[in-house]
């Protein structure tokens, strides 16, 4: 490494430090504390300098690493470890992953907390897979995906509480409603692309949330909907003491009553729903409509010149993506038994988009890895309360530095003429 390079990287790092100082200074440094009758500012410069120091050091290491010298091998080996996980190996990875997911609830270290985190990760994986159709395949940047999640959840909640129908009837209905809203959103945004599309979809997400807050007669406004029926195991409810004339799950199978039964059932439910989403996406990607989605992402004008109807193609992408969002939403509603508009804020959309983009646009396995990485890390730092979002941001920065195109960016053709050559 030449001296010039080092000085250059050092300068650059100091500049990064300056930006970090400008950001962290007011955000972290000036803390407001309410004492007695007033609000006082307590400076905490120590923390600020620690954070700025970390930024300078990190930037310096990245700079030196990118100068491609052998002295600092840590980063390059780390990043090549990641790249070795190509889509080819992804198949083995997927099978191992599914097997692990199936036995997960019965592993010795699995407790209630682990199960909850796993269910949450699986929900995000399913949402990621659903959004992958819209963003990854069709290339339509949708920042309001949470709207369909909300439509699914509210449709499920309203139908189930009003008519008392079972989960298995309400689930497809919720999917249909969400798909309908997908088409509803699709029509006005047909001509838009890129940034403009992103802004309109973002607005759509907010519109849905605000309607949910204000349409008090139907949605019960900010109070949300309570008492959403829990799913039953093919007619057997998970209750300690079932109503008269009913048999509950633990009595039927002669088990000791445990709240874990329901958690495990919910876990398998979301696992199956997510796998269905995945299977469907993998299949449809190889069909003409899937190829048309990808072609539309690549070049819309060329698509038109070949007679591909862009309207129908986009609308199917929106509708199918929204349908899976709706399924995930009804699962969310039945799991929580309570929903309110607060669960469907913009940050949810942002997290799902982040999962799809960081996973590698269009890569199904990438979505899984990104969900585990992003949600898992954020959960690990839950004790830090609001600072855990720093971990979330840090995880995003790490992926962007090492894998700027996403964790798994390799795309495999949907059809091969010469078969697999290894």
């Amino acid at each position: 490494m030449e001296k010039k390079d080092i000085i250059q990287s050092f300068k650059d790092s100091l500049f990064t430090g300056l930006i970090a100082l400008a950001l962290f200074g007011p955000i972290v440094g000036l803390r407001t504390v309410s004492k007695g009758e007033g609000l006082f500012i307590t400076p905490q410069w120590g923390v600020v300098f620690l954070l700025v120091g970390l930024c300078i050091l990190g930037r310096f290491l990245i700079n030196i690493n990118s100068a491609r010298r052998t002295e600092f091998k840590i980063f390059s080996t780390l990043s090549s470890k990641f790249s070795s996980v190509t889509e080819d190996k992804a198949k083995h990875f997927a099978i191992t992953g599914i097997l692990f997911a199936v036995v997960f609830p019965f592993l010795p270290f699995t407790d209630r907390y682990f199960m909850d985190v796993a269910i949450m990760i699986l929900t995000y994986i399913m949402l990621g897979w659903g959004l992958n159709i819209v963003v990854g395949l069709a290339g339509l940047l949708d920042l309001g995906y949470v709207a369909f999640y909300a439509v699914g959840a509210y449709s499920y909640a309203l139908i189930a509480t009003t008519f008392g129908w079972s989960f298995w009837i309400c689930l497809p209905l919720a999917g249909v409603f969400a798909a309908f809203f997908g088409i509803l959103l699709g029509f006005p945004v047909l001509r838009l692309r890129g940034d403009y599309l992103a802004i309109v979809t973002l607005g759509f997400g907010e519109i849905i949330r605000i309607i949910l807050i204000n349409w008090y007669e139907v949605t019960n406004g900010p109070d949300g909907i309570t008492g959403i029926p829990r799913p039953s195991f093919f007619g057997l409810p998970f209750k300690r003491s079932p109503d008269e004339g009913e048999t509950s799950f633990h009595l039927f199978f002669n088990l000791e009553y445990s709240t874990m039964h329901r958690i495990i059932f919910l876990y398998y439910l979301i696992l199956v729903l997510a796998l269905i989403t995945n299977y469907f996406t993998l299949k449809i990607r190889k069909l003409p409509v899937g190829r048309a989605w990808e072609a539309l992402r690549e070049d819309e004008i060329a698509c038109k010149s070949l007679g591909v109807n862009p309207t129908n193609t986009k609308l199917t992408a929106f509708a199918i993506g929204a349908m899976f969002g709706g399924f995930a939403g009804s699962f969310f509603a039945t799991r929580q038994a309570f929903i309110s508009p607060e669960s469907f804020t913009f940050i949810e959309s942002a997290i799902i988009v982040a999962i799809v983009v960081l996973g590698g646009m269009g890569s199904q396995t990438g979505v899984v890895l990104a969900s585990i990485f992003l949600i898992g890390i954020t959960e690990m730092f839950r004790d830090l309360e609001q600072y855990r979002m720093i971990a979330f941001g840090g995880a995003m920065v790490l992926i962007m530095v090492f894998k700027p195109k996403g964790i798994l960016a390799n795309r495999k053709p949907t059809i091969l003429m010469h078969g697999d050559k290894k």
């Binding site: 003409p288 072609a295 010149s305």
Partner: protein, 263 residues
């Protein structure tokens, strides 16, 4: 030889600018008709009108079919390719770069495959009828790839091909929709002499073997003079000359338009 396309009094205005001014010409079946002219003469605008990207201010364009004729004005957008079977390529290549060569050719057969897959339903059920149709589509793609000698690269990304091969791929992709009229916008731009010669061969093959008329915009005179049956010369949106390649070469008006007039 019968008429394939007749353009009648075509006019296209953008605000105060008249890009095409009262243009009329015919193109015949199994012939290559070239449109040439200096930069800004309105050649690409003619294409954009023909292929439904622009709606002309005035005038008519007819595509003749046995004894009936259809007006291209009625079709816009994707329907030009889907219903009227007019295909085109672009001045700056528009392939689907991140998709494989074979996939590019299958997207061109989207509409037939969409019906064959029962709008995805049969496809999801993996029925044999769909798989057979898909195989036919792959065979058709292979037929064209054999002709341009790219079969060995069928599974590579289209964006990874050399420039000349991308040009040829774009042309055969357009041919995969089985067009009656093929509009090529500067297919020889950026090609070396050897690639230009291959392009000439490909265009001659399409002209003689397929029931397709070709409309060509080109600056490369070796291509224009080598293969055109008929040449239309535009300048400032007006037709200044029409005739065979040899007649064009010796026309005083054409030389003036390109090189200017002696004072």
């Amino acid at each position: 030889m019968s008429n394939l396309l007749s353009v009648e009094n075509l006019t296209m205005k953008f605000g105060g600018l008249t890009a095409i001014d009262d243009l009329s010409f015919d193109a015949k079946n199994n012939q290559i008709t070239s449109i040439i002219g200096p930069n800004g003469a309105g050649k690409t605008t003619v294409f954009n009108c023909l292929t439904g990207f622009y709606k002309p201010t005035n005038g008519q364009m007819f595509l003749h079919k046995e004894d009936s004729k259809i007006s291209l004005r009625k079709y816009t957008d994707f329907k030009i390719a889907y219903v009227a079977k007019v295909a085109r390529t672009f001045q700056n290549i528009r392939l689907f770069p991140a998709m494989s060569v074979l996939e590019n050719l299958l997207v061109a057969q989207h509409n037939e495959l969409m019906v064959a897959s029962g709008y995805s339903l049969f496809g999801l059920l993996n029925l044999k009828t769909y798989r057979d149709k898909e195989q036919l589509a792959v065979d058709k793609a292979k037929y064209w790839l054999d002709i341009i000698g790219l079969t060995h690269r069928a599974d590579d990304n289209a964006g990874d091909l050399p420039y000349g091969d991308q040009r040829k791929l774009e042309i055969v992709r357009a041919m995969c929709i089985e067009p009656r009229l093929l509009c090529l916008d500067e297919p020889a731009a950026g090609l070396n002499p050897k690639e230009s010669a291959e392009l000439n061969k490909l265009l001659k093959f399409i002209k003689t073997e397929k029931q397709t008329g070709i409309l060509l915009i080109e600056h490369d005179m070796s291509v224009v003079m080598g293969i055109s049956d008929h040449v239309v010369v535009l300048n400032y949106g007006k037709k200044i000359f029409e005739g065979t390649a040899d007649q064009t070469k010796n026309s005083k008006e054409v030389i003036e338009a390109y090189l200017g007039v002696d004072e």
